[in-house]
């Protein structure tokens, strides 16, 4: 299952709920303001670290670039993907939960 988070963890609890309620083996994709969740030493870094043990975590590069977040600010283990990668993830996972 693909879980998509598009809100900043500094403003909303979407990422926190996604982490709590996604199963091992699922994929979490951070887009739009959700990309702030991938920041090294950020609000959500401990939760993301926990996720990385049994889930795949991706972040959309275009949204990072738009926000001036360089790749060295992103937690290691989080995979930066592009729009084509986003499409691939959507095709690979028949079910998508968007934590709006």
């Amino acid at each position: 299952m693909l879980h998509v988070v598009n809100k900043s963890p500094f403003e909303k609890n979407c990422l926190e709920s996604c982490v709590r309620l996604s199963q091992a083996g699922s994929c979490i994709l951070l887009i739009e303001d959700g990309v702030y969740g991938a920041l090294f030493n950020g609000e959500a870094s401990e939760e993301i670290q926990t996720c990385l043990k049994d889930r795949k975590v991706c972040v959309l590069g275009e949204d990072l670039q738009a926000r001036g977040i360089e790749s060295d600010r992103i937690m290691s283990g989080v995979e930066v993907i592009d729009y084509a990668g986003f499409v691939r993830l959507a095709v690979e996972h028949p079910k998508v939960q968007s934590w709006l």
Partner: protein, 141 residues
């Protein structure tokens, strides 16, 4: 995806409610859409997490704020054949609530001499993970 789903018979719908009532329209609209879906003979279940658990708090009274008190409408869920209302325990606890604070929702079990049975199931985060992943269609409010 199940064969049953591909043949177009019945889909398992899960309505995920994560917002408090009254401040915005999400709660009321989520409830109305769920009732409509259930009226079309879909397999409908409700999930309440985060601030969504406040939607089921007993004793809501909107008289003084001049809006419709739609909390009474939750009692219709059972009549529309919605038999599964899941509430996440952790979300309740973080808000100082317990199952006793929620409206006593029931449905009449036609397979058991129309006995009234509780609609609300308080579940752990782990159980909620499974419920989400096993549903066919997820709708968020």
């Amino acid at each position: 995806m199940s064969e049953e789903l591909q043949s177009g018979i019945v889909k398992k719908f899960l309505y995920i409610n994560r917002r408090a009532p009254h401040g915005t329209n999400y709660a009321q609209e989520g409830l109305e859409v769920a009732l409509i879906g259930a009226a079309f003979d879909q397999d409908v279940a409700m999930a309440y997490l985060d601030d969504g658990v406040f939607q089921l708090k007993s004793g809501q009274d909107t008289k003084a704020i001049g809006t419709k008190n739609f909390s009474a409408t939750y009692r219709a869920l059972g009549d529309y054949d919605v038999k599964l209302v899941y509430v996440e325990r952790e979300s309740l606890e973080r808000r100082g609530l317990s199952e006793d604070d929620l409206m006593p929702l029931v449905y009449e079990d036609e397979d058991d001499d129309w006995e009234e049975k509780p609609l609300i199931h308080v579940v752990s985060a782990g159980e909620m993970q499974k419920i989400i992943s096993e549903s066919d269609v997820l709708l968020n409010f």
